[in-house]
Symmetry: C2
Subunit: 148 residues, 2 copies
Amino acid sequence: MPLPETQIPGRLQAYFSERGIRITQQRRAVLRVIETATKHLDASQILRKVQRVDASVDRSTVYRTLQLLKRHGLIDELDLMHIRGEGHYYERKMNREHIHIACLRCGKITEFVTSTYDKLKQQVEKDCHFKILVSRLEVGGYCSACRQ
Amino acid sequence: MPLPETQIPGRLQAYFSERGIRITQQRRAVLRVIETATKHLDASQILRKVQRVDASVDRSTVYRTLQLLKRHGLIDELDLMHIRGEGHYYERKMNREHIHIACLRCGKITEFVTSTYDKLKQQVEKDCHFKILVSRLEVGGYCSACRQ
DNA sequence: TTAAGTGCAAATATTTTGCTGTCAC
DNA sequence: GTGACAGCAAAATATTTGCACTTAA
């Protein structure tokens, strides 16, 4: 299952074409923003970035595209411990799922990959007879710089 | 499936007294509802249950009390994979943290305790030099009854 | 007594939806 | 050409806040 971690621009759009999902200018812009993001973005931030390319794109189009991506399991929805606000953050689903670690003081978000997480999910599937489609582990606390 | 440890009614109120946090009738009612809950409740459900005891309690009081409890680390805030709605669910913090497993088809929520989760958190603390105060692992997929 | 808490109403934040016109295929 | 999609405006949902009154300690 695991593929390289690197972002391949255009991969979301390729997925859409393969499945016969219509690609509009607006969707293309949203996909591009998500694919090229260097940090976790919420719906408003995605909208703002999309509007820099096409100012006429509406907020509801962003939400509708996010729903579509969620339904197809192409993005993950995060809370990031609600570091600021009650909304959600989005990121392209990576081949290797990672933990999100949020410093409650400085707000820094760290991503952490470990096989222990994979093992834990396998254990849940086995012990609970459960087929995992999506999982989310978020941790809040103090980073090394803030804990002193 | 392992259930959470037994609820000790009055423990939240005891915590408040010890810390000199004022206990009002309204807070007492909210604490009692949370302590005696048998399933995960959102703010509206808590309000409804509280109002069965004291109909004059306002929604904002519930939210303010939830904030207070969160700040003191006495409750956990959950999304439960947004099985219904965008709001949050709350539960008393247990000594042993557990995983929340949500069936995306039937909506059933299962709780699961395993030492692998504890180990994973220890590993994060060690490898990331991070002091964990709160953590949340939610899993979505299909339960054994729904996967066929 | 008095600082903290409450209800109320209104504001804010976030997400969804109905409808009409437009565009990708 | 046509069905899916977009923009717009409004609604729905979720949470917070300012203020005057009340109450626990």
